[in-house]
């Protein structure tokens, strides 16, 4: 990996990490409300896979969406303002943390009904195919979502219609407080669901950003060459609770600590960069500092943005541009 790419990867992962840490703090201060699901621990997936996408590609994801949005290049100021419920947010304060959208980036949203966005992802791929456009759909979802009927309906439709879509399963091993072993009959084999629909699939280490990048690159190339849908299962772990309301009694502290100590994607990537003489500690420290400034700015931006008024609430219920 060259220096510039390494810097970019590290910057993006640290940006997500610090953004999420700031969100957690601001939630405690009551600046952010509702349900807040942090992506801390899973940064390598968003950064490694989204960095391989082009402008024409679409992204759609679930409510744990900040990481994907920032990796795609969403303006952190606007994202934070949305979380604050302010008028300069991506949806002027109407969507909140679980529902970030940016159509300019083909970022088709965070969606908060588990499994609900999978058929929509299929539809976006159908739209691409029918209009003979370039591009594909990257659809992120969790291990909990594979148990909804919509997952299976979507997989079948995508395969049947041979659509340009990557089903990206972020297996952080828990759906809220329920471990995959307690929710899936064959928990080690989730990626094998693809077999039944005649779809290629792989299972990878989602904590290693380079592995994530390589598998995404391979999948994307296949689709660009005219291949059909694919599934990637990335093994990961969320370092924080499911949401800020999580009592955290369903897993051992030692389990969390062990993942943090041994598999932190940012630390792993830093080690890789040091070992291969790609970056120096001074350079990574500098990145840390740059991100810090950026996060400070986005908090200020959100704080200073005005609250929306009722005209905003009443606007855009219907498309009046008929």
């Amino acid at each position: 990996m060259d220096k510039e790419t390494a810097k970019k990867y590290l910057f993006d992962m640290i940006k997500i990490r610090q953004f999420e840490e700031a969100c957690g703090r601001m939630y405690m201060q009551g600046k952010i409300k509702g349900f807040l699901h942090l992506y801390i621990g899973e940064e390598a997936i968003a950064v490694g896979s989204i960095s391989e996408l082009s402008k024409d590609d679409y992204i759609i994801t679930h409510y744990r969406d900040h990481g994907h949005a920032l990796a795609r290049g969403m303006d952190p100021n606007k994202a934070m303002a949305e979380l604050y419920g302010k008028v300069d947010g991506t949806s002027r304060g109407k969507g909140g943390s679980m529902h970030l959208f940016d159509s300019d980036l083909n970022f088709m949203g965070g969606h908060a009904i588990v499994g609900g966005h999978l058929p929509i992802a299929v539809g976006i791929a159908l739209g691409i195919k029918k209009q003979k456009r370039k591009g594909l759909v990257m659809c992120y979802f969790g291990d909990g979502a594979v148990n909804e009927g919509e997952f299976h309906e979507s997989m079948n439709l995508a395969a049947l219609w041979d659509l340009p879509i990557i089903f990206y399963l972020e297996n952080n091993q828990y759906g809220m407080g329920t471990h995959v072993k307690r929710s899936s009959a064959n928990p080690e084999m989730l990626y094998k669901f693809a077999d039944l629909y005649g779809m290629p699939s792989t299972k990878i280490d989602g904590m290693d950003v380079i592995t994530v990048r390589d598998s995404a690159r391979e999948a994307i190339e296949k689709i660009r060459k005219g291949g059909g849908p694919l599934l990637i299962e990335a093994m990961t772990y969320r370092f924080r609770g499911h949401s800020m309301a999580d009592p955290s009694e369903y897993r051992e502290n030692e389990e969390v600590q062990q993942w943090q100590k041994e598999k932190d994607p940012i630390e792993l990537f830093k080690d890789y960069c040091y070992t291969n003489n790609i970056l120096t500690e001074q350079e990574t420290n500098q990145i840390n500092g740059e991100v810090k400034t950026l996060i400070k700015e986005c908090l200020e931006f959100a704080e200073n943005s005005p609250l929306p008024d009722m005209s905003v609430a009443e606007d855009k219920i219907y498309n009046t541009n008929n």
Partner: protein
């Protein structure tokens, strides 16, 4: 009498059910090891074990259907759907299957089960997580819908639901779990279908249920300061409803306002209003007013959410402008 909150009253009722009937079991997402998304089932997993307290995968249609099937063999499932918003994934099982089984089989089959679920806004959870669909379910023949607003009714209605051989949608409002109240020690049941006058008055009848009760109580207090005496009715059950008690109140006060957290168009409150006007027309001194959420998908921003749902200010305005009090 024991003082407890609504969450504790439900927990007490669930424990009783598990203790007294071997065929009772609970199932739902994260009700066990996690402790329940709203902590109603906290510690039940520890005390009753995984055979009785089943943590399900996220598969609403699947586990609701499975509950229906098991109830047809004599089990008594109490299912929790995390919120009423997610019940839409199971609505086919509820409306096309649970509600129809007894009728289509002409009584050969029954579906004696309870679906507990959480309704309402207030959590800053935005458009897909803040809806109040209890009125939808109440419109379906074959389903019963209860929606308690206090611990006493919650326990009493849960007991009645357990003794009922029909599919019951048991609706809990997320903002009411902490509401405290007195719960009698001796066993009692609260009949399904019977509204309750929770405050007597002479000038205006306020009808509400579930999350709208605190707003109704606030309105009652504000109007009292202006020497307007309100009669407050908690309907407690949306289907069936014994309307007689409501008619009696209307005949006394001659004025009615109904609070319904659902949107204006097609609201259950509007249905209540139509039944009243058809039966009490000659007694009415003013139009019946229904105060609903504005016809807007719920915005996330707290400042907006508070204006979209029926609030004291909006109810008082409507009482002044439409009813003329």
């Amino acid at each position: 009498m024991a003082e407890m909150n609504l969450r504790q009253a439900l927990s007490k009722g669930l424990r009783e059910a598990l203790d007294n009937n071997d065929n009772v079991f609970l199932m739902g997402e994260d009700i066990g090891l996690y402790g329940g998304p709203y902590a109603v089932t906290k510690d039940l997993y520890k005390d009753y074990g995984p055979e009785k307290i089943i943590d399900t995968p996220i598969a609403e249609s699947g586990f609701v259907g499975a509950a229906i099937g098991s109830s047809m063999t004599g089990m008594k499932p109490i299912v929790e759907i995390m919120t009423i918003n997610f019940s839409l994934l199971a609505i086919d099982q509820i409306v096309n299957h649970a509600a129809k089984m007894h009728y289509m089989s002409d009584g050969q089959l029954s579906v004696p089960m309870i679906i507990r679920t959480v309704t309402g806004a207030g959590g800053r959870l935005a458009a897909t997580h803040s809806q109040s669909f209890e009125g939808w379910y109440a419109s379906v023949p074959g389903l019963k819908v209860v929606a308690p607003s206090n611990p006493n009714d919650a326990l009493g209605l849960l007991r009645s639901s357990l003794n009922d051989n029909n599919p019951i949608i048991f609706v809990e409002h997320s903002m009411l779990y902490g509401v405290t109240g007195e719960v009698p020690e001796p066993y009692y049941e609260t009949p399904i279908g019977l509204p309750k006058v929770i405050q007597e008055g002479t000038d205006l009848t306020i009808i509400a249920w579930s999350g709208m009760i605190p707003v109704a109580q606030d309105v009652e207090l504000k109007l009292k300061e202006e020497n307007i005496s309100c009669e407050l009715i908690d309907i407690r059950t949306l289907n069936p409803i014994d309307f007689e008690l409501i008619f009696e109140s209307v005949k006394k006060t001659n004025k009615v306002v109904i609070l319904d957290e659902y949107w204006e168009t097609g609201s259950f409150g509007a249905y209540i209003s139509s039944v009243i006007q058809e039966n009490c027309f000659d007694y009415l001194d003013a139009p019946i007013s229904v105060v609903n959420s504005m016809n807007i998908p719920m915005p996330y921003s707290a400042e907006l959410e508070d204006q979209v749902v029926p609030n004291t200010k909006r109810v008082l305005e409507k009482i002044k402008n439409k009813i003329g009090l």
